[in-house]
Structure formats: structure tokens, C-alpha cells
């Protein structure tokens, strides 16, 4: 089997429709809060509601979000992924207040194979048209029971169907992550992931010029937002006990919607497949000053 292709930045230039966003937070590096990080990540998707389809297979997905999400995580592993590797510099088991692990403690995990652990279409009922936070958390718990999982190394992504708009989606947020308690009493990180393309350019559609990458511009938000929330769950699965800066921002938040310069959102290759992503915060970039990066092989080889 051929060695996977390394991740590379394929389309660093951006469309002109968006004014360049402020390049990263000015609040300094992420600081360890004493809690867990994800040391062995596995992602589970639940497609909530029979709006996705009435059987066990998704049949109503006008933007093809399910396939793109699954492809994104199925390619995010090993040496062919030098994007999420930037988060492996963060760790747990070190002193609260630490900003540079330097090999101490237990690092954020980087999977050797696909971190996609399972998918499930919960078509037992229609998802509410405007689900509450509590209903989304309850669906995550239901899915965790279905998969038989719990703990901070798993994350359940609750995928809402096309047309379902929880309060605040599109206007206040594109997605968010949190944690709740699984039926066995263990912690359970989960993500509220609405149907991102319903939000259009506000949540990433056409944010990055696609060039010849083959990426569909209207779908870019699916992986930009998906990668943002995944990385934040890796470093802060039980908010805000993990890695957060002095203003409360996590790794993805500090680098959201950067459209030019260092850390600009880009199209990258993960094991030979191309995806649009935003950069992630790296404490050890620029000799420890920190910055947003889209590629990370080591502390001395990142950009």
C-alpha cells in the first residue's frame, strides 16, 4: 500500500466576497485548565429525525452533507493528515496554567486510522423544527446508548436535517459543542451540527477559492465548521476545563474566518482528498508566540 500523501495547502488564495477577517485573537496562547483532552479520538454521527429518511439509510440530503462529513473524518488520520496534528501539542496531566507541554503529560491523540467510529440514522420520529439545547443533548445521549459509548474520547455529532433551525443557528452560531452525561453517568462530548449549507455564506459557503481542487464552494462550510468543532472538542471536550485563552476562546475560535495572511483558511489534502478548512491555533508557532496554522509536522515545521 502506498504511503498516504501528506496534507498540503492547495488553494491559499481566497475569494474576494469576504473582507479579510482579523487575523487571529490577540488574547495570547491557549492555557491548560486542568481537565481532560481527547487522547484517542473517535467520532460518531447521529442523523436525527425521519426528515433524513424513513428507514435506515439517509435519502434526503440535498447538499450531500452526510457523504462529505464522513469523507472528511475518514481521511483525517496518520501521516496523511498534517492538519489536525497541530493539536497534538496540547496535553493533559500537566500543571494548570501550562502553555507548552513540551512532551510532558498525555497529548491530544492523532488517530492512526479513520476516527469515524459509526453512523446512525435515528428515524424513529421527526426532529423538532426548532430543537432546544436540552433536546439536542438528549439526542446525543440516545445515540451514545445506541453506539454503546461514553467518555471524553468519543464525540457524538448530532446532525440536524435540512430545514431544521435551532434557535440562534445562522445568526448567532453555525454549530457548537458541549458535554453532557451519558446514561451510564460518564461524560459525553457532543456537537450540535445543524444543516450547515442552509446558512449559506454566513457559515462558510464559498469562503475559500476552490481553484482546481475539486471542492464544491457551496459545501465548504461543512468541513470548515466541522473541523473547527472537532478540533475544539479534541482540546476542550468538557468546556472550559481544557485549553482556552484568557478571553475564553478555544483553538478554532481564535482562527475563525481568517481570509488572508498567516493562518488563512485553505483547501488542504487529507490522505489525498481535498477539503476546505480554517486554521487552528498553535501555541508553539513562531517560537512560542502562537499563531494560526493549517499544516503542522513539528514545532519547527508548521505554517
Amino acid at each position: 500500500m502506498a504511503a498516504p500523501a501528506g496534507a498540503s495547502e492547495l488553494a491559499p488564495h481566497h475569494m474576494n466576497a469576504h473582507k479579510a477577517a482579523a487575523a487571529a485573537s490577540t488574547a495570547g496562547n491557549l492555557v491548560y485548565g486542568g481537565g481532560n483532552v481527547v487522547t484517542s479520538p473517535t467520532v460518531y454521527y447521529v442523523y436525527w429525525g425521519n426528515q433524513w429518511g424513513t428507514g435506515s439509510t439517509v435519502t434526503n440530503d440535498p447538499s450531500g452533507e452526510v457523504a462529505l462529513q464522513q469523507s472528511f473524518f475518514s481521511h483525517a488520520y496518520g501521516s496523511g493528515d498534517s492538519f489536525f496534528t497541530s493539536q497534538t501539542q496540547y496535553c493533559q496531566g500537566v500543571a494548570t496554567g501550562t502553555t507548552q507541554c513540551n512532551g510532558a503529560g498525555t497529548p491530544v491523540g492523532h488517530p492512526a486510522s479513520s476516527p469515524l467510529g459509526g453512523t446512525w440514522l435515528d428515524s424513529s420520529a421527526k426532529a423538532p423544527s426548532r430543537p432546544t439545547d436540552a433536546q439536542i443533548a438528549a439526542e446525543a445521549v440516545k445515540a451514545a446508548s445506541h453506539f454503546g459509548i461514553s467518555g471524553d474520547n468519543v464525540q457524538v455529532i448530532v446532525d440536524l436535517p435540512h430545514g431544521v433551525v435551532p434557535s440562534g443557528f445562522k445568526t448567532q452560531y453555525c454549530a457548537w459543542h458541549d458535554h453532557t452525561t451519558a446514561s451510564n453517568g460518564a461524560d459525553l462530548p457532543y456537537t450540535n451540527m445543524p444543516y450547515i449549507t442552509d446558512a449559506g455564506s454566513g457559515c462558510g459557503a464559498n469562503f475559500v477559492a476552490t481553484g482546481s481542487s475539486g471542492v464544491n464552494g457551496t459545501d465548504e462550510g461543512i468541513t470548515i465548521v466541522g473541523g473547527h468543532e472537532y478540533a475544539e472538542t479534541l482540546t476542550d471536550p468538557a468546556p472550559s476545563s481544557g485549553w482556552v485563552d484568557s478571553t475564553g476562546a478555544e483553538t478554532g475560535d481564535k482562527c475563525a474566518w481568517v481570509s488572508s495572511g498567516q493562518g488563512a483558511s485553505s483547501i488542504i489534502s487529507l490522505n489525498g482528498a481535498n477539503f476546505a478548512v480554517q486554521s487552528l491555533w498553535s501555541n508553539n508557532f513562531n517560537n512560542g508566540a502562537g499563531g494560526c496554522v493549517v499544516s503542522y509536522t513539528s514545532a519547527s515545521n508548521q505554517h
Binding site: 473582507k19 445568526t171 448567532q172 455564506s201 465548521v225 468543532e229 478571553t247 478555544e250
Partner: protein, 143 residues
């Protein structure tokens, strides 16, 4: 927007603080402790959209809003047009502590902020946009 609150003169609050309560004080009562701080009237925060929040504010709100001590207020300031993104929200004093905004991906053009009320008192939240627009809200933290 609560116009009554917006028009509440802070001078009146100061005067109330100086005068204390109008209720009669028993002649034999011991000298009171130093006057407790009288906090200004405040309105209930609009309902939140994120978990663990007491309420939220946008650029549409002004005036004074109540925040129970130990709870969180979320702020979402949306740019009216591309390039007119609101600056990070600032809070006066030390009664509000920044909280985790990173749990969510904010839409393009939205400046988010979250604060937890740590001690009783008032703090002014403010921001400005490149076009010159400004936004200001008073947060009243009460236990």
C-alpha cells in the same frame, strides 16, 4: 429595548445610594454598616440560544440588564455590512470574567463574547464598529 431603563439617570441612582432607604429607622437601632451598594434597576436578559447561559444580548439591546451572580451572559454583535465587524467586546471593572466563546463557531461577521458575573455590581459592556457605530449595555450582577 427598554426605553424606561435607557432613560434612567445614573445620577438618580447615585442620589438614592447617598440617601439610603426612606423607611424609618428605629431610634435605638445600632449604627448600620457602611451603606450597601444600591444597584440600578435592570431588565431581564433576552432568552439565550446556547447551553448554560442566562441570556443573550445583540446590537439591538441597550440599557441595563440583570445577570445573576455566577451565571453567564452571551453577546452577539452582527456587522451591518461586510467590513464593518464589531470590535471585541470590552467590560469595565472586574465583576465580569470572560467565559468560553470557543464552544461555538460564530457566523462570518458576528463578534461573540461571553461573560460570567463574579461579584455583585455593575459593569459596562461596549464595542465599536469601523463605521463609527458604538454599542453599550450595563450589566447589573446580583447574587
Amino acid at each position: 429595548m427598554n426605553r424606561a431603563l435607557r432613560l434612567l439617570p445614573l445620577a438618580a441612582v447615585a442620589l438614592l445610594t447617598a440617601c439610603g432607604s426612606s423607611a424609618p429607622t428605629p431610634a435605638a437601632a445600632p449604627a448600620p454598616d457602611p451603606s450597601p451598594t444600591v444597584l440600578p434597576a435592570c431588565a431581564k436578559l433576552p432568552e439565550p440560544v446556547l447551553p448554560h447561559s442566562a441570556g443573550e444580548l445583540t446590537q439591538q439591546q441597550s440599557g441595563a440588564y440583570c445577570l445573576p451572580r455566577g451565571q453567564r451572559v452571551d453577546i452577539f454583535l452582527t456587522a451591518a455590512q461586510s467590513g464593518d465587524t464589531w470590535q471585541p467586546v470590552q467590560a469595565t471593572g472586574a465583576i465580569l470574567a470572560p467565559a468560553n466563546t470557543g464552544v461555538m463557531t460564530a457566523p462570518l461577521g458576528v463578534t461573540p463574547a461571553m461573560f460570567v458575573g463574579t461579584t455583585d455590581g455593575t459593569s459596562v459592556l461596549s464595542s465599536a464598529a469601523p463605521s463609527g457605530k458604538t454599542w453599550k449595555v450595563t450589566i447589573v450582577v446580583k447574587g
